[in-house]
Homo-oligomer: 246 residues x 2
């Protein structure tokens, strides 16, 4: 029998720029994790600790941000922060800006979020390099668990958001069964499983959105955990040239 | 502390049309599940038990199937089965047919799959009405656990597949935090969590693709489980009119 167990860590205090996130996580229960475990951390506390925030009072909207703000009934300063995080605006409709971030993630508002930001008129952006953030966090945790940094992304065609991995250290992002055989010995053509995204989604089930519980411990994924940090969430990005919905 | 636990049931024998799937699942360990538990079942065994299969020898491809088959290097009989399951061909490129099924799911090849089909030149299609299948299965399990029927879907913009819910009985498909407050008392505008999809993704982590272990027991989701069967996976479908990538 195969098993998976997930448990929330303790709530964290409000995280501020410059805080030592690893120490806060260790105090919240991450000290119990070992090299076969996975720690899934909501990106917001990573972003805050790294200072990946923007205060609206400091933002001067461009002409494009003013225009998009007027069209989509959004604060043009907020739109400016979103554009600053974006390599490309993929769609703008129904009051939603779907952006390709500088990292390559396609998501609403380039991952810029006002909720749980810690102050009014403050926005939290994605970490500048979430794979590097995950690697640093893993290196700073004495038990060396694998680390996934997650965010909630909407999906084309389906309602609601699911958490996905935006930063990974020490977990294989994808399990490749292409070319392997199924139970009948038939080749499994299309089976390429986004393990890290499924782990992020699983962790989100244990987390209340109104709580200060950003981190979830996962045990039972040993076979996907690697000593080296691996390719990170960058390996989950489909190149624009291969995408049917670019 | 919040917890989630997942465990695979025992492998099932090869499932054939007309088999009593509930009995097979009970013998595989579902007899231990109660009303606060969730059983996630890969759709393939549901489809097989319901006879949602197609043998290529019985299929005559249409002119369109012949044309698409030639263009995309696919067996035109396979393409014909895909078209028969589809309300709309959303994209056809890179040898992939992205279809909107008659149920409204947007996925590769309308969910038609040749792997683990039980016989050569046999295809497994999605259940005709997966929400009804989930409700029937729940009703047939004495412990009345919630039931999710899952399939692996690819995603726009990201590599790999994750499991999603295509049929649901007794689990709230979405948790709506829109209008509720975050930890700062600020409104959580966009937070609408696709619980059932996250549960399907979590269950997939416990399942080996080459095994005959289609069913995973999940405990710890009590707060999302309902006595009535609820709106099902139909509630997860974004209407075409609201979709930016139709």
């Amino acid at each position: 029998m195969s098993r998976l167990q997930l448990a929330s860590l303790e709530p964290l205090p409000e995280v501020r720029p410059g805080d030592d996130l690893a120490s806060l996580l260790l105090a919240a229960g991450a000290d119990g994790l070992g090299p076969g475990d996975l720690l899934v951390v909501a990106h917001k506390v990573v972003s805050k600790a790294e200072g990946a925030i923007a205060d609206l009072a400091d933002v001067t909207p461009s002409a494009r941000a003013l225009e998009l703000g007027a069209t989509h009934d959004k604060d043009p300063r907020h739109v400016q922060v979103v554009l600053g995080q974006s390599a490309e605006l993929v769609r703008a409709a129904h009051g939603v800006l779907i952006c390709r971030t500088h990292h390559g993630f396609v998501c609403a508002n380039a991952g810029v979020d006002a909720s749980n930001a810690g102050a009014p008129d403050r926005l939290v952006t994605l970490p500048r390099d979430p794979d590097a953030s995950a690697r640093r966090l893993r290196a700073a945790l004495p038990g060396r668990p694998a680390v996934v940094i997650s965010d909630s992304f909407g999906r084309a065609w389906r309602h609601g958001q699911v958490d996905v991995a935006i930063g990974i250290a020490g977990l294989g992002p994808l399990e490749d069964w292409r070319g392997r055989a199924d139970a009948d010995g038939r080749e499994l053509h299309a089976t390429w499983i986004a393990i890290a995204d499924e782990a992020a989604a699983a962790a989100d089930l244990v987390r209340g959105k109104d709580s200060r519980v950003p981190a979830i411990a996962v045990s039972g994924l040993d076979r996907h955990i690697t000593t080296d940090d691996g390719p990170g969430a960058a390996a989950l990005l489909r190149p624009r040239s291969e995408d049917l919905f670019a």
